[in-house]
Symmetry: C2
Subunit: 212 residues, 2 copies
DNA sequence: GTCTATAAAGGGATAGAC
DNA sequence: GTCTATCCCTTTATAGAC
């Protein structure tokens, strides 16, 4: 038996906790751990500071929760796309399409992840599970197989991944720079990213094409 | 007439000011504006906190000085390489070689610049002078000319620059990630970057090659 | 110019009433 | 669960002696 008082309690509880998490995510992503202020998070969530500590005990714990959650949204897709059974070209297209789409909605996520990643790289890699899952070794075998078959030029998984990730993610990191340099408005930039959905796979594929 | 007392004074003055700047650069680059502590900078410079304020008045002013100076080291080379008269392939090679070399010595500079750039994008672009100098328009004309001559596929300057910068700079931003993912030691990573000096120009050139 | 001591502000965390 | 008030440590900045 569940009392209606209990239900009301849980509703409010969930709602406040969610509000805090959303507020904290926004502030942390924009300012980082060191730059974020508990007061700012509280204001964003329309509650007072004491509530933050009531629910999450400390700034560090709150941050850790947010950080892990963001990684959880960001990472598993990489593993499933790259570790899957699709042909190389499909993987490249899927990867680029999925991430440009996602980053268009969350353009500050890369800077946040990369900044804070430095403080706990091993924790993150473990949490992402890209190594543990074997996705990388399967990708490596795929690259090796295609090389032997003569369908692509030889390339190591590290360089392949570095190229793919660089081309997809960096433009969001350099967005202010690119917009200033080329006088792009926000909608220009959105169009620019849209173009890259086609351009990056072409770019990567043609660089892999064997020299005839 | 310049007294020897004055010279001693200036020597010490320059020396202390330099020491502060070097210390501040190191701390700011590693921790960012919000994460850096004046005490830490003072310790690094082997002086006391009061000196920092004596020379630079406030943390914000000290930061601004450092930030501008770092940009001054980083940026002009881009303008001179890309805005010059060399053939496209030479520009690509020069760009990649110069920046991978420089970033190998200063691997934290990209994160620092990109993080803090968000707070003052227009100031930076003006300071860099890449637009004002006309380097970008000259590069644009060069791309257009080569396209008309049929020596390369059509590409906009924005995408060209985005590709080149992404491939060169991102690996340093993602260094912890790449090292964890592929189990690279520091010297493995150095070798990885060394390989990219050849790989990136090949990669970019082959993607520009007209479809036969 | 350089130091010690201290003021002043900022910001994370807790106590206690409701 | 939520609020107000407050503690207290950290950090920036200044005063003042040398």
């Amino acid at each position: 038996m569940v009392s209606s008082a209990y239900l009301r309690h849980m509703e409010k509880n969930i709602s406040t906790e969610e509000r805090i998490k959303n507020a904290a995510k926004k502030i942390f992503i924009n300012k980082g751990l060191a730059g974020a202020r508990m007061q700012e998070i509280a204001d964003e969530a329309n509650i007072n500071k004491a509530m933050l500590h009531y629910y999450y005990r400390s700034k560090d714990l709150l941050f850790q929760r947010i950080f892990d959650e963001v990684i959880g949204e960001f990472a598993p897709k990489i593993v499933s796309i790259l570790g899957g059974e699709s042909p190389l070209e499909t993987k490249i297209k899927d990867f680029v399409h999925h991430y440009l789409e996602m980053l268009s909605r969350n353009p500050f996520m890369p800077l946040f992840l990369i900044s804070e990643l430095r403080n706990q790289p091993e924790h993150v890699i473990e949490k992402v599970g890209i190594v543990r899952s074997g996705a990388l070794s399967r990708l490596g075998e795929q690259l090796e197989m295609e090389t032997k078959a003569g369908t692509i030029r030889p390339i190591t998984p590290a360089h392949f991944m570095a190229n793919l990730i660089s081309l997809s993610i960096f433009p969001f990191l350099g967005q202010p720079m690119l917009q200033s340099m080329f006088g792009m408005s926000d909608s220009d930039f959105a169009l620019f990213i849209e173009e890259r959905k086609k351009l990056i796979p072409e770019f990567v594929m043609s660089s892999l094409k064997p020299l005839s």
